[in-house]
Amino acid sequence: MSNQTILEVENLTVNFDVSSEGDMPWTKAKKLQAVNDISFSLSAGETLGVVGESGCGKSTLARAIVKMVPAESGKVVWLGNDLLGLSHSEARQYRKQIQMIFQDPLASLNPRMNIGEIIAEPLRTHYPKTPESDVKARVRDVMHKVGLLDNLVNRYPHEFSGGQCQRIGIARALILKPKLIICDEPVSALDVSIQAQVVNLLMDLQEEMDLALIFIAHDLSVVKHISTKIMVLYLGNMVELANSNDIYQSPSHPYTQALISAVPIPDPNVEKNKELILIEGDLPSPINPPSGCVFRTRCQKAQDICSQQKPEYKEVATSHSVACHFND
């Protein structure tokens, strides 16, 4: 595996305008901070796991990287080029290097197209002059790669199971030989045994093609299995970023600690004696986030300083940074 950095995200911020009901047209819309000041970098062959509860901005982060939602500020540097500064047509050539896999396997496939057409679409879009026989060969090739029989090309998505549909989605993402695949909760709609198959398939493909992955999930055990680095998000803010093992062995942020204590262990004896850190209360509104540290309203360690100052990202160990006042 090479260690060349391919993607660098710097201080990425995404806001949405929210107008509440009864507002006049000239009333200024409220800002919803979906993603706030996130930075990370990713090398070829690496996997970044992104975890956090619903509504914390995981998917928005992914969509901002591929420019599906406009970013407020920040940079997305892809192989030395800032994608956010590029126009639509200039960004097009980078699109073939970044592909995406979606949460709902069936909904991500056009029900009126057959599998062959679906998988070939990115190829036909970016290389419209490819001869038909080459397209067919490439489709067959990529179908073998994801473990689908190539005699299924003429079938339609509704004739497949969820796991197969997800394989089709992966095949579509792979056909252009991308360098980065963003997986937006690719396994959360599948049952556990199929989850394992799909995750292992992704890992095999990663090794074979030297892919970088951004893997979004809310299931920590799945993320642990696949990731080299893990980022924990809370209310659009990054609270902890570290290597996969570090985050499991020495979680530094109180939120991460609580998340990890909630992962069930498949051993009744250990599970019974485990100390569970419960987080009280609900996620605060992202339209009106708490001052200072966003987690302070639910944090057990919260003190005065937490509401006054926003914690900086500090390196507590090599490549392990945390946003908390009580870590040195």
């Binding site: 029900p111 970016h126 299924l152």
Partner: protein, 308 residues
């Protein structure tokens, strides 16, 4: 024995590995449609009527504008339906052959209905899909234009157009085509709003497919179900509108005719005991409309998203 079996198994394996054609949603829908007896029978009757309007003229003895001077003015006594005189459906008051005129009327009415509906479908689908897909301000402006056009009374404008610019089939097309796509665009826009947030549209966007291709390749094919249903219901609506206009005496021009014009003439002379002048065109009219509605109904059931 064992060898034979092995061969059989090998054959089977070969068969399996052939890329079998999948069953598309259209194929499924066709099978469901065929199971609907009323719709299938209606389709056959309609096809029979259409083919009759093309084959029928070869059996006609009289052309649709030729006057049988024997029957003129005495249609009630001489012009009744009979095979010997060659007037299979009788004659009208002027002595013209009703068989030929019904065929002519069928051709015109169906043409107006089908062409009018196709204009409405093509314009309405593209307009609605574009408006719904682009969203935002474009959507607002495009839909307000539809609102304004919708608020103009349809019949009134049509009648005015025909009065001001003279009666002609062309004008009738323009008048009907101009206004009948409005409902279509509304329906399509609503459906597009649903579709455009589906993940497969997002997948296409991430891949870098252009907006135009997304509309034509991903949105429109998924709209066709609802469009097909609406189109089959639009055809009888337009035929009715044309018949109404013709009934008022503003539609097609003599010697051409349409169902509405024929029904009007037939209704006018009903007191002279020439009821065939009303009944033949009316029967064609009513049966065809029923068929269109049954087909529309069958299509709706066949393409119902609940069954997918």
């Amino acid at each position: 024995m064992i060898v034979a079996n092995k061969n059989k198994i090998k054959d089977m394996a070969d068969n399996l590995s052939e890329s079998g054609a999948g069953r598309s949603l259209w194929k499924d829908a066709r099978i469901r449609f065929m199971q609907n007896k009323a719709a299938t029978i209606s389709l056959f009757i309609l096809l029979a009527i259409v083919s009759f309007s093309f084959i029928g003229p070869y059996f006609a003895v009289w052309s649709y504008e030729q006057i049988d001077w024997n029957a003129m003015g005495s249609a009630a006594r001489v012009g009744m339906p009979s095979i010997e005189s060659g007037h299979f459906f009788g004659t009208d008051d002027l002595g013209r052959d009703l068989y030929s005129r019904v065929i002519q009327g069928t051709q015109i009415s169906l043409m107006v209905g089908v062409l009018g509906a196709s204009v409405a479908v093509i314009v309405g689908t593209l307009y609605g899909a574009t408006s719904g897909y682009l969203g935002g301000k474009t959507d607002q402006i495009m839909m307000r234009i539809v609102d304004i056009l919708m608020s103009i009374p349809y019949m009134f404008v049509l009648i005015l157009l025909l009065v001001v610019f003279g009666r002609s089939i062309g004008m009738l097309f323009i008048g009907i085509g101009l206004l009948s796509w409005l409902d279509m665009s509304r329906i399509v826009r609503g459906q597009t709003l649903n579709l455009k947030n589906m993940e497969f549209i997002e997948a296409a966007k991430v891949t870098g497919v252009s907006d135009f291709k997304i509309i034509t390749r991903h949105i429109v094919p998924n709209l066709l179900g609802i469009v097909a249903v609406y189109a089959t219901l639009l055809v009888p609506g337009i035929i009715l509108a044309e018949s109404f206009i013709s009934f008022l005496g503003l539609g097609v021009q003599e010697p051409s005719t349409s169902w509405g014009a024929l029904i009007k003439e037939g209704a006018g002379t009903i007191s002279y005991e020439t009821e065939w002048q009303l009944l033949f065109p009316l029967a064609f009219f009513v049966v065809s409309l029923f068929c269109f509605y049954f087909i529309g109904d069958g299509l709706r059931d066949a393409l119902d998203p609940k069954d997918r």
